[in-house]
């Protein structure tokens, strides 16, 4: 009896383990090599995962309903991506459990690279009708840098925040400036005047993240400066390090000079820019709704203003580029062909009418990823009502999206640990930091 029970337990446990280890091979598949299929009674059902915030979820629910009213052959279920523990991990778990959606938004280029590297995404340019979306939305230029190293487009960018630097205009005016400095030497001159006047009460750049190696934090310091200094050089392309040494070293030298002038406060401080402890920081358009509630006294072009990142001396500030905080839509390879085509049909319908992008911009404050954002009359009322959004709209084509490497987390951590964070703390010389970073990146890319 005992032996039989033990044997049964072992068999049961093995069965559970084997089923868990299964990669799905040998299960029923459809014409696209995928399980399941949501095509009942001629109606194709697609699952749409929206960003985990009520505004975006409401937007997509509304769009889905409106589309269903025009096309009774497609049913769209919109739900928010779960964030337990992160939205990326939720998508990973869904793919592993074979319950991935058809389409999801809120995907950055780095995560898309992880997914495409794992063959979890459909190259959008291979689906019929995708080129019509690009043409209808007027986004040919904006989507160009999104092309992956393999030549395919895996993400359709929805919005593109050309990250800008905010300057405390009130403090600049106290120091005798009516507009933000544009070059490194001008910024250093401001720093010297600031320190002479305020000592340790004010800093040029007060931000604890400058000393934090967390990968995504480099998007909002190093990359903004690097994109400006290098004219939008790709830094890492596919699996090769293609960084511009001259531009990179000049960025690190600039940061080092700021440190030497005691212009950097890389310590925890409550809203340093808003409270005037720092006079220079990265600002994304999502910040304005928070400011409206928490810091209503902050007024654009009164006590703060926005500018593209400063550039090294000798570089034309008008040619400055910046980092694009941008996310988009992807279609999952686990979806059936019918679902993939229905998803593209839905996207095409949404983006063929600029009014839908106007609604998006109005609801979310996130600039739609279009080439004509600052020229299309449809967006004018929004930009007139919120002039602080104008520089974001104007610079959409000047913004460089994140790298398309599946190891982007590790690689960006290296930028911090080997160079940027160390320079901020004065632990390494800029040129040595760049060399150490390059060596570590090349090793990690192998």
């Amino acid at each position: 009896m005992k032996k039989r029970n033990s044997a049964l337990s072992v068999v049961a446990l093995s069965a559970v383990l084997l089923s868990a280890c299964s990669t799905g091979q040998g299960t029923a598949t459809n014409d696209n090599g995928n399980t399941g299929g949501s095509n009942a009674g001629g109606v194709t059902t697609i699952e749409f995962w929206a960003a985990p915030n009520p505004t975006q979820q409401a937007y997509w629910s509304e769009m889905a309903k409106a589309y269903e009213a025009t096309n009774d052959k497609v049913k769209i279920n919109v739900s928010a991506i779960k964030e337990s523990p992160t939205s990326e991990a939720s998508i990973q778990a869904a793919i592993a459990a074979k319950s991935a959606p058809t389409i999801s938004e809120n995907i950055n280029r780095g995560f898309a690279a992880q997914l495409s590297d794992s063959q979890a995404l459909v190259p959008l340019d291979t689906i019929a009708g995708f080129s019509d979306v690009i043409a209808a939305r007027d986004m040919t230029k904006t989507i160009e840098p999104w092309k992956f190293a393999d030549g395919h487009q895996y993400v359709l960018p929805i919005y593109s925040n050309a990250m800008l630097f905010g300057w405390r205009l009130d403090t600049l005016k106290e120091l005798g400036y009516n507009e933000p400095p544009k070059t490194y030497s001008e910024v250093l001159e401001v720093t010297k005047k600031l320190k002479a006047k305020y000592g340790d009460k004010k800093y040029l750049w007060a931000k604890a993240d400058l000393a934090d190696p967390t990968a995504w934090k480099r998007w909002f310091d190093f990359y903004m400066l690097y994109d400006a200094a290098s004219g939008g050089n790709k830094f890492i392309e596919g699996s090769s390090f293609t960084g511009d040494q001259k531009a990179g070293e000049s960025v690190l030298t600039f940061v080092d000079s700021l440190r030497k002038e005691k212009g950097i406060l890389a310590r925890q401080s409550t809203d340093p820019f808003e409270n005037g402890v720092g006079i220079f920081t990265d600002v994304g358009p999502w910040t304005f709704s928070t400011w409206a509630q928490k810091y209503p006294n902050l007024k654009y072009n009164e006590n703060y203003t926005l500018s593209m990142p400063p550039v090294p001396d000798g570089v034309d500030p008008a040619q400055s580029k910046t980092f694009a905080d941008t996310k988009g839509l992807v279609i999952y390879a686990s979806a059936t062909k019918a679902q993939q085509e229905a998803a593209v049909g839905f996207i095409k319908w949404v983006y063929s009418d600029a009014a839908n992008d106007v609604k998006w911009f109005k609801d979310t404050n996130l600039p739609p990823a279009r080439d004509d954002l600052s020229t299309n009359e449809a967006f004018k009322p929004i930009l007139d009502a919120s002039p602080q959004l104008k520089p974001y709209a104007e610079n959409v084509p000047n913004a460089v999206p994140p790298m398309d490497n599946a190891k982007y987390n590790d690689l960006q951590t290296i930028i911090g640990t080997e160079a940027f964070n160390k320079v901020v703390k004065g632990e390494i010389a800029p040129a040595e930091g760049w060399a150490a970073m390059q060596a570590a990146l090349e090793k990690a890319l192998k």
């Binding site: 009896m1 029970n5 446990l13 559970v16 383990l17 868990a20 280890c21 990669t23 799905g24 523990p85 992160t86 990326e88 991990a89 990973q92 778990a93 793919i95 592993a96 992880q114 997914l115 794992s118 063959q119 979890a120 340790d200 007060a206 604890a208 000393a211 934090d212 190696p213 967390t214 990968a215 406060l265 890389a266 310590r267 925890q268 401080s269 409550t270 340093p272 409270n275 402890v277 190891k407 987390n409 590790d410 640990t417």
Partner: protein, 291 residues
């Protein structure tokens, strides 16, 4: 009859067996399987990598940091929480009224959210906080979360604040179980008041202390929330922990195989450390004649 008893036995133990199977054995075997693969749970295929995930982890500076930081946290947290818990327990035990109320008060931090307490501490230690502004005015300028030792100490302090009440409850129950006659007999034998704690209370508290110490040592292997919220494992890797490392690798880098290997290494380090600590505590008790 035997067969009926046998069936009843299986029936009554089945909840535990099912629980163990679902929440222990299956995850354990799943982790073992993942740890020898390069699978990220997204790719349709995977390769067996043998022990290379373990070899990579053993060479990783952030894993080394997680290993050593656990013992650094131990050195700060365990003595601090033990002394505070004994102090609170002795003080509360001496009260004649509202004993329960005070114990509940000290226990409340244990129920509080780690995220909230970390955010409050973050605000308190902000460069512009009243504390730091006052310190700077007298010439003391400390980067609390940006300096390795102070960052470790702050995390240890938050944990001690959180766990003191819980451990004080255990120690109070130990104090309550000491018969008053023991103290009376000791007084008759000439034990002075200042010797009572060391000669009577502490030895008789040994079982409760043993429990709290094992629990406290165990806490240091599971530190996550406070570090995640306050320092993110930095500065450098100064406050990186096993749980932080597993989280980063599994959920940011999506390296499920490597993260599983780190998780298994963490389990082995925890098991061996707790085993050694348990033995040392037993030797300590035996050497002093407390067991």
């Amino acid at each position: 009859m035997d067969q009926r008893n046998n069936r009843l036995g299986w029936l009554f133990t089945s909840p535990y067996l099912i629980y163990s199977l679902v929440f222990f054995f299956i995850p354990l075997f799943w982790t073992l399987f993942l740890s020898v693969t390069d699978w990220n749970m997204i790719k349709p295929t995977f390769n067996f990598k043998g022990m290379s995930n373990f070899a990579d982890a053993l060479q990783s500076p952030s894993v080394h940091a997680a290993f050593w930081n656990t013992y650094r946290f131990m050195l700060i947290f365990v003595p601090l929480v033990t002394v505070l818990a004994i102090g609170v327990a002795v003080l509360v035990h001496g009260l004649t009224r509202f004993k329960g109320l005070f114990l509940i008060g000290f226990f409340l931090p244990y129920l509080s959210s780690g995220v909230v307490s970390a955010l409050i501490v973050k605000g308190l230690l902000s460069y512009t906080s009243p504390v730091n502004t006052a310190l700077r005015s007298i010439g003391i300028d400390i980067d609390w979360l940006g300096t390795p030792f102070t960052a470790l100490f702050i995390v240890g302090l938050i944990l001690a604040w959180k766990f003191t009440g819980y451990y004080a409850l255990i120690i109070t129950s130990g104090l309550e179980s000491i018969d008053k006659e023991v103290y009376e007999a000791a007084a008759i034998d000439g034990v002075k008041d200042n010797q009572r704690f060391w000669r009577i209370t502490l030895p008789l508290l040994y079982p409760s202390l043993y429990t709290t110490l094992i629990l406290a040592f165990g806490v240091t292997f599971g530190i996550f929330t406070e570090v995640y919220q306050l320092t993110g494992g930095g500065p450098g890797n100064a406050t990186n922990t096993w749980q932080m490392e597993i989280f980063k690798q599994a959920f940011s880098n999506l390296q499920s195989g490597y993260a599983s290997a780190v998780a298994l290494l963490a389990s082995v380090a925890t098991f061996i450390s707790i085993f050694i600590i348990r033995k040392l505590l037993e030797v300590w008790g035996k050497r002093n004649g407390w067991v």
